[in-house]
């Protein structure tokens, strides 16, 4: 119990004193995961729609692959990314390894299957009358898709939140592809792992509490935003 008390005290200290290294890592964690999720969202929603609305050979296989992809261990994504971005690898010339951009790439791969699966599933699960109505109204293809997305928005926004939660707290990818370089690629999760491996459990606890706190704050903020929009629509 002493450890918890010490961790909470230390967390409060870190926040109050504005420890530059901690906030630097927190900010990096945030922008990397938000960027990765938004990019995965652009690609993932499009793929999910395609898988839900267009019939083509191999569709079932692709859906199964996307679902299976949600199980990909982050260390495996990290290792694959390393093989790809290593100077010996096919993308070595880009010199992305051990930069925040490498983490964005890895987290994009982590988030993509979640968003594809949930978009596809939620569109498939829509009331058949939505499709009928949209067609009866004579809407163009683009407008029809917007209607479907709007009807499925709760499930899709939950997919975004799930993807964000996984990326923001993710350790394996950030460690392998970012390298945990101070002031360059250190995220809050790798900083936590570092303090814990050094044996400084109180500081590790403080940082993971901060990680939890920021994650909850972002989730709450997005939920509030959603709730307010629904109010306006009424």
């Amino acid at each position: 119990m002493e450890l918890f008390a010490e961790g909470i005290r230390e967390a409060a200290g870190l926040i109050v004193s504005g420890d530059a290294l901690v906030w630097d890592a927190a900010w990096r964690s945030l922008w990397i995961s938000v960027l990765a999720v938004l990019l995965a969202g652009l690609v993932g929603v499009a793929c999910g729609l395609g898988l839900a609305l267009v019939r083509f050979p191999g569709r079932a296989l692709l859906i199964a692959l996307a679902r299976a992809g949600m199980n990909a261990p982050t260390v495996l994504i990290g290792l694959l990314g390393y093989g790809l971005l290593s100077r010996r690898g096919p993308l070595g010339g880009l010199e992305l390894l051990y930069t925040p951009w490498a983490i964005v790439l890895g987290e994009f791969v982590l988030a993509l299957p979640i968003i594809v699966t949930w978009t596809q599933g939620s569109i498939r699960k829509l009331d058949p009358r939505v499709f009928e109505t949209a067609i009866t109204l004579g809407l163009g293809a683009w407008r029809r898709v917007l209607v479907y997305l709007s009807e499925a928005r709760l499930a899709i926004s939950l997919a975004f939140l799930t993807a964000f939660a996984r990326c923001f707290t993710e350790l394996g990818i950030a460690m392998m592809l970012g390298g945990n370089i101070k002031e360059r690629s250190r995220t809050l999760a790798t900083a936590t792992a570092l303090e814990t491996s050094r044996g400084d459990f109180a500081r590790g606890m403080a940082m993971s509490l901060l990680l939890l706190g920021i994650g909850i704050a972002v989730t709450l903020a997005l939920s509030l935003l959603n709730a307010r929009r629904r109010e306006e629509e009424r």
Partner: protein, 274 residues
Amino acid sequence: MRLLLVPALLVASFVFAACGESGDEAGRLVLATTTSTRDSGLLDRLLPIFEEETGCRVDVVAVGTGAALELGRNGDADIVLVHARDAEDAFMAEGHATRHEEFMVNHFVILGPEEDPAGIRGQDAAEAFRLMADAGATFVSRGDDSGTHEKEKSLRALAGLEECWPELLESAQPMGATLLMADEMGAYTLCDSGTWLSRRSKLRLVALVASGAGLRNPYAVMPVSAEKHPSARTDLAEKLAEFLISKRAQEMIRAYRIEGERLFTPTRLEERGN
């Protein structure tokens, strides 16, 4: 369309923020080193001076000695700083590095509980391992091919122990966490003096074997060869190696202390006429 505006603005602002991160510099050098080196805090003292002198940025990736050498073998590091002589010799023999510069040394200590059930206090290092094996004492090994693990294996071989004894546990964790495990279990462990000095105030472990030639722990730096790995920045890496053996860096190493204790002894001062 209003729906799309928010994400679009977010992306724009994040890309903007992210671009600020990369910055512009004369070059970027990836230094692969060991966790114990990073945790000592010495590099945070030395590297900013090198960065200022050359305008080149040094990114420190800290992993175990085995992994650090592997990064060098793959050309993903431009320079490696490790402490495992046999593994370093193999690295040189394979032609991955242009040179091998030993530049500082500390030593290993064998730590254990105050009661010292195996009776190793003050013994020779190899003899201590034989006593621990005979007594079936709990020993927490790193088990991760780190420099410390390599040293432990060579001490066990020196003691004529061909196999691990059942009470030898592999933590597969960095030094700091391994120390805590040994502390909690009342076990023995092997540790570099730098990590030990910076951690001992929080531990009940005591140093039982702390001297002897068998416990010497030299650190060396090796620039990765551009002949072998065309993308390696050998010229900058050579400059960093030169810097580490320069009088200025060597004196800083000598002056570096934690809680009043010197962590490393420079090895290149005398040959430069000091």
